[in-house]
Symmetry: C2
Subunit: 332 residues, 2 copies
Amino acid sequence: MQYLDPNRVSADQYINGVLEGDLVMLARALSLIESSRIADTSLKLRVLEGILPKTGNALRVGITGAPGVGKSTFIEELGLMLVEKGYKLAILTIDPSSQRSRGSILGDKTRMDKLSKSDSAFIRPTAAGSSLGGVAQHTRESILLCEAAGYNVVFVETVGVGQSEIQVRNIVDYFLLLMISGAGDELQGLKKGVMEMADGLAITKVDGENIHKAKLTQTTFQNALQYLVPASSEWQPKVFTCSAFNKTGIEDIWDNVEQYFQQMKDNGYLEHQRQNQRLIWLDDCMRSEITRHFQQINKDEGSFERLKGQVQKGTILPNRAVVQIIEQLISK
Amino acid sequence: MQYLDPNRVSADQYINGVLEGDLVMLARALSLIESSRIADTSLKLRVLEGILPKTGNALRVGITGAPGVGKSTFIEELGLMLVEKGYKLAILTIDPSSQRSRGSILGDKTRMDKLSKSDSAFIRPTAAGSSLGGVAQHTRESILLCEAAGYNVVFVETVGVGQSEIQVRNIVDYFLLLMISGAGDELQGLKKGVMEMADGLAITKVDGENIHKAKLTQTTFQNALQYLVPASSEWQPKVFTCSAFNKTGIEDIWDNVEQYFQQMKDNGYLEHQRQNQRLIWLDDCMRSEITRHFQQINKDEGSFERLKGQVQKGTILPNRAVVQIIEQLISK
C-alpha cells in the first residue's frame, strides 16, 4: 500500500492536513501512529507535537457494554442527535479481539449506516495491535488527532470484554456503561469494578415487553450504586433507560453528559482528571519503552522474558532482575 | 544508633540470624531493608537472596478498616487465638500517615498489650517512608524475612485511608476488610473499590445494642457483594459479624481464612496469585529504579520532576518525555 508510506508525506504535510480537517490526511495520520515500525517513531512524534497546541477541546466520552447490549445502534442514534445539534463527532472503536483493523472499517461503517454518511461524523476502528497497552496508547493519540482535526465530541467505544474498560476509563472524561435488563442475569458480562468506573449507566433496549423488567433493573442498579460511590466524589452517577428503536431516553443521557462537562469544567475536576491521565500515560510509555530498549540491546530477545519468568516463579527477586536490566541498559 | 550500622553485620550473619529465628537479628534485618541508603542496596539484596529459599510458607493475610473500626483489638483477639492454636504470628502494621516508624513501636506494643507479651507473636510497624510504593516494597520484603524466621502466619495491617489498601491487596493472599455498623453511615470510610478487593468482610463491635443494627448491615453488604462478584471468581466472599469484647465470631472468620488457603492451594490459585504479585513487584521496582537512576544521572534532581510536570500540564507528550529520559540514561 504505497500511499501509506510515511516517507512520502512530511510531518508538516500531516500536521497541516489534519489541522485543516482533511479527512484523507487524518486517516493517514491515524495509520501512521498505529505503525509499529521503529523508523516511524520520530515522524509520529513530530506530527503529534505539531498538532498538540490544537488539542484538548473535545468532550471525550467512553462507551462500553457487553456484546449484545446494542452499542452500535445506541451510538448511531446518539451520534445522529449530536450531529443535528451541530457537533462534529469522531468515533474510535476498539475491538480487543481483532488484531488488525483494516478489515473491520467497512464492517463498522455498515453497522452505523446512517451516521457514516454524515459529513459531521468520522468513524475509525483502532487496531488492537499486539497488546492492550498498545490500544490505549494508539487511542490516546487518535483522540488528539481527531481534536486537532476539529471534532468536538470523541467517542471511544469498546467491547466489554477483557481489560479494555480500565484502559478506556483512563483516557476519557465521561465513561458510559450500557447494560440490558434480563431475566435474572442483568449482570451478565458485568465485571468486577466496571460499574464503579462509570459516570453514567444506561439500560438499553427498553421497549416493548422489556419496559417493566427494565424499571426493576434500573432500581436494582441505582441501589447498588449507593454502595460504590465514594464520599469525596465530585459526581453522582445515575442509571438511565433508553431505546434506540423507539428513540427514547437518548436525549436525557446526553443532557447528563453535558451537565457533567459543565460542572467538572467549572470546579476544575476535568483538568485535574486529564492531568492524572497524562501521568498514567507517562507511566505506560516508560514501561513499554524500557522494555523495548532492553529487548533491542539484548539481541537475544528472550532474555527479558526469561528474567520475568524467573521473577514470576519466585526464583529471583524483582529487585535483582531490575538491577540486571538497568546494568544491561547502561553498559551498552 | 551504632548497633544498626549495617557495616558491622555481614550478609551471612543477617541470613543465619534470621533463619535461626533470632529476634534481634530479624529486627535488624527489617531495619536494613527499610534503609534508604544507596550503600545498603547490595547488602540488602544479598540478605534477601540468602533467605529466599526459606520463604513462601506463611498464610499472608491483609487486614484493613477505617480508623475507629477496632483493628488493634480485633487483631489482638484473633492473634491470641492463633497463638493458642500453635501458629507463629508476625504482624506488620502500616500507617501511611506516619513518616517514621521508630516512635510508634512502643505505641503498637501498647495497643496489643497481651499479644506483644507472647513468644509466638512478633509485632513490627513498617516505616511509611517517602512514598506508598516504598511501603509496599518494604512490606513485601518484611514478609519474606518473617517467613524465613519461621512465622507461618503474617498479618499486614493497614489503616483504611489513602491508597494503601490496593498496595496491600497486591502483597497478601487473603484480604480482610473490617467495618462497623452505624446509623446510616455504615459505609463511612469505605472507598470505591475496597469492598470488592476483599476475600472476607467482618463487621466489628457487634455487641450490646449494636447487634440488631449489625444484622441489617450484614444483609446490606451481603446483597451489595452480589453485584461485585465476578462470574469467574474462585472464591465467594462472605460477611461476618464479631465482637472482640465478647470474643464472638472471631473463630468463624479464621475458619474462613483457613478454608480459603485449603481451597486455593488445592486448585492452584494461591500460587497463581503470588506469581502475578511478583510481576507487579517487578513493575514497581522497574519504575522506581528507573526514576532513581535518572535522578542520579541528572545531578539536577529536579529535571525528572520538571519533565513530569510538563507532561501533567500537557505541554509535552509523554512519549517525548520518555525519549528524553532514556536518552539521558543511555548516553551517560
